[in-house]
Amino acid sequence: MLIIKDLHVAINGKEIIKGVDLEVKAGEVHAIMGPNGSGKSTLAAALAGRELFEITKGHVVYLGEDLLEMSPEDRARKGLFLGFQYPVEIPGVSLVNFMKTAVNEHRKFNGMDPISASDFLKLMREKQELVGLHTNLTNRSVNEGFSGGEKKRNEIFQMAMLGPKLAILDETDSGLDIDALKIVANGVNKLRTKDNATIIITHYQRLLDYIIPDFVHVLYKGKIVKSSGRELALELEKKGYDWIKEENK
C-alpha cells in the first residue's frame, strides 16, 4: 500500500528526516515510536502533503502512484488520512459543514452524487457513537472550544466519516486520560479491516496496549534505527529511549 524509499525531508533548509525506508501493506498496523524531536510528526505531515516541508530526496509510492506528486487534497481523496497531533481550531467554519464538504469532495472524486441531508445526519450520528463523541456538534466551529480529549476524538470521528485506506495517527494518545484513550483505541480497532492500514505515531507505549501493532519502528534523529514486532514497544517501555540513544551515538 505504502512504500517509502530513502525519504529525506527538510524544513527551512534543515534536514529533519534523513533517509527513511518503510513498507506498509494492507491490513497492517505499524507503530512509529521515538523520543521527542526525532522527526515523527515531520514524517507524518510530509506524507500528508504539508507544503512547509520540503522533500529533498527519496520516493513514496502509495497505491501504486507517486504520492509526492499529489496535492494534499488528492492524497486525502485517495484514502490517506492524517490524525493531527494538534487539531487546528477554525472559528467560523462549522464542523458539520466542514465534514459535509469533505465527504462530498470524496464522493465527487469517486464519481458519486452528493450525500443527501438525511443520509449525512445518519452517518454523523453513527460515527459519533462509534468514537464516543457525544458533544452536540451542530453550530460548533471546527475544534473551537473543544477540550483536548474532544479534539482527539474529533480526529477519530473524522477518520470514521471518511473511511480512509491508510490512516496516520500522529500522537493521538497525547493529552488523553485512560478512558478517552480506550474509546479512541476502540474506535480505531473497529475501523480496522484487512483492506486498510494504520500508522500509529506515539511517544509512549500505552496506546499500543489497546491497538496491537504488527510492527514497531523506532525513529531517531530522522532515521529508523530499529524495526521489530510488538515486543520492541515493551522493551522500549522498560528501558526508555536512552538505550536507543546509547546505541546510536
Binding site: A48, V88, P91, A102
Partner: protein
C-alpha cells in the same frame, strides 16, 4: 504641490457648481435645508476637499475619484421608465417596506401601506416642507460641517433622500429597505441626505442598499443623521454594491440618548472607492452603540473606514469591529477612534480591525486609537493584518477539500463574524449568499437584476 493644486481646482469646480445651482436648490428645497447652506458654504470654502495631508484621509485619495467630469442634477426628473420594472430586489417585499431612491431623489412612485400610526417615511425634501417642526429639531443637528469638507459639501448640496420618523413608543416591526439606485445616461455626481428620527421607547430596522444600475461613473456623497431617543432601538444596515468606476463617500451620524441601543452594520461588497465615516455620540447614560463593518476588495478598489465613538456620558458600552479581505491591488484603510470624555466613567469600549490580505500587492493601513479623559473605564483597541492561516488551510485540504474551496471556507469564516451580527434574518441570508458569491469571484449582484453593472 501637484496634489494640492488638483484639489484646489476640484474645490473651485465644486464651488462653481454650487454657485450655478444656488437658485435652483433654493427654489426646489424646503426652508430648513436652505438654512444650513450658508454655513456649509463657509466651511467648505475653508476646508475644501480633504487631501492625504489630512490625517483622517491619509490613505484615502478622495480627489482622484472626484475630479472626473460629472454632471449633477438638482431637479427631480420623473423617470420615463418604471423603476420597479428595472429593479426588482429579491428580498420579498411582503416582509419589508421598500422605497426607492433614484440618483439621490426619493422616487415619486414609492407607495407604502400598513405603516403604524404616526410613522412617517417619505422623501427628505418633502419632510422639510410637510413636517417642519420635527424636521427642524433634528436636521443638521448631528452632522458637524466644521470638521470635514465633505460633510460641508453634502450639506451644501443636500436636496433629497429619505426621511424616517418613528414616534415615541412605536415599534416599526417590518424592516424598511431603502434602495439607492444610480442610473443615468452620463456620469453623475450624486448627493444623498437621510434623516432618521426614532423617539423614546421606539424601534426600527433600516437597510440601505446601494446599487449602480449601469456602467457610468458615479460620485456619491451620502450623509445620514440618526437620532435615537431614550430607550430607542435602531438597527441600521448598509449594503454597498457599486461598479468599479464609482466612488461612494458616506457619513453616518448617530446621536444616542439614555439607554438607547444602536447597531450599525456595513457590508461593502463592491465599488471603485468606498469611504465610510461613522460618528456616534453617546449622549445619555446606559447606551449601547455597535459599529460593525465588513469590506471585500479586489482589482484596484479602495475601501476606507473612519470611526469616532464619543462617550460623553457614564455607563455606556460601545463595540467596533471592522473586518476586511483584500485581493489583487486593492487597498484599505481603517482609522478608528474611541473618545471617552471626563464624565464618562464606567465606560466599556472596544475596537478591533482585522484584515486578510490575499495577494502580495494588496495593502491595508490601520490606525486604531483611544483618547480617554475618565479614570474608571475599560477600553481596548487592536488591529491585525494577516494572510489566510496556512495551518487551517492544510487541515481542510488534508480532509480532501480542494484548495479553492478551502480558501472559500476560511474567507467566509472570517467574514461570518460580522454577518452573524446582522439582526434582520432575511437580510442576513441575502448577505451570506452575496458574500459567498463575491468571495468566489462571481459578480455579486441581485439575482433578479438584469442590468450587468461591471
Amino acid at each position: 504641490m501637484n496634489e494640492s493644486n488638483n484639489t484646489h481646482d476640484l474645490s473651485a469646480n465644486l464651488l462653481k457648481l454650487y454657485r450655478d445651482n444656488t437658485d435652483i436648490l433654493a427654489r426646489n428645497t424646503g426652508e430648513t435645508l436652505n438654512l444650513y447652506r450658508p454655513k456649509a458654504l463657509e466651511d467648505f470654502m475653508r476646508l475644501g476637499v480633504p487631501t492625504t495631508k489630512n490625517e483622517n484621509y491619509k490613505y484615502t485619495r478622495i480627489e482622484d475619484y472626484l475630479k472626473g467630469n460629472y454632471d449633477a442634477e438638482f431637479t427631480y426628473d420623473p423617470f420615463k421608465v418604471n423603476l420597479r420594472e428595472i429593479f426588482k430586489c429579491d428580498i420579498p417585499e411582503l416582509d419589508t417596506y421598500v422605497v426607492l431612491v433614484l440618483n439621490g431623489f426619493y422616487y415619486n412612485e414609492n407607495r407604502l401601506s400598513g405603516l403604524p400610526e404616526g410613522v412617517i417615511i417619505c422623501g427628505l425634501n418633502e419632510a422639510s416642507v410637510r413636517y417642519p417642526d420635527i424636521f427642524r429639531l433634528h436636521y443638521g443637528q448631528y452632522a458637524d460641517t466644521t470638521t470635514d469638507g465633505l460633510i460641508a459639501l453634502n450639506t451644501l448640496f443636500a436636496h433629497d433622500g429619505v426621511f424616517v420618523y418613528v414616534p415615541d413608543g412605536v415599534k416599526l416591526e417590518r424592516p424598511l429597505q431603502v434602495i439607492n439606485l444610480s442610473f443615468s445616461f452620463r456620469d453623475l455626481s450624486i448627493t444623498r441626505r437621510n434623516l432618521i428620527v426614532t423617539g423614546e421607547e421606539a424601534s426600527c430596522s433600516i437597510v440601505l442598499c446601494d446599487h449602480t444600475l449601469c456602467a457610468h461613473s458615479y460620485a456619491t456623497n451620502s450623509l445620514t443623521e440618526i437620532y435615537a431617543g431614550k430607550n430607542a432601538r435602531i438597527d441600521f444596515s448598509r449594503m454597498q454594491n457599486e461598479n468599479s468606476l464609482s466612488s461612494q463617500i458616506t457619513h453616518t451620524f448617530i446621536h444616542q440618548e439614555e439607554s438607547s441601543v444602536v447597531t450599525s452594520n456595513t457590508v461593502s461588497l463592491h465599488g471603485g472607492l468606498i469611504r465610510n465615516n461613522f460618528f456616534a455620540r453617546l449622549n445619555g447614560t446606559g447606551c449601547e452603540s455597535n459599529l460593525y463593518g465588513l469590506f471585500l476588495g479586489d482589482g484596484n478598489q479602495h475601501i476606507g473606514s473612519y470611526t469616532l465613538v464619543n462617550h460623553a456620558m457614564p455607563n455606556c458600552n460601545s463595540n467596533q469591529l471592522f473586518k476586511g479581505i483584500l485581493d489583487d491591488n486593492a487597498t484599505g484603510a481603517f482609522n478608528g477612534k474611541i473618545f471617552v470624555g471626563k464624565d464618562a466613567q464606567k465606560t466599556l469600549a472596544y475596537q478591533k480591525n482585522s484584515n486578510i490580505l490575499l495577494s502580495p500587492s494588496a495593502r491595508m493601513n490601520t490606525k486604531p486609537h483611544l483618547e480617554i479623559y475618565a479614570d474608571d473605564v475599560k477600553c481596548s483597541h487592536g488591529a491585525t493584518i494577516g494572510r489566510l492561516d496556512s495551518e487551517a488551510m492544510f487541515y481542510l485540504r488534508s480532509r480532501g477539500i480542494g484548495e479553492k474551496e478551502a480558501r472559500q471556507l476560511l474567507m467566509y469564516a472570517f467574514a461570518d463574524e460580522i454577518i452573524s451580527k446582522i439582526q434582520i434574518s432575511l437580510l442576513r441570508e441575502r448577505i451570506i449568499e452575496l458574500v459567498d458569491k463575491r468571495l468566489r469571484g462571481e459578480l455579486a449582484r441581485c439575482n433578479n437584476c438584469d442590468v450587468r453593472c461591471g
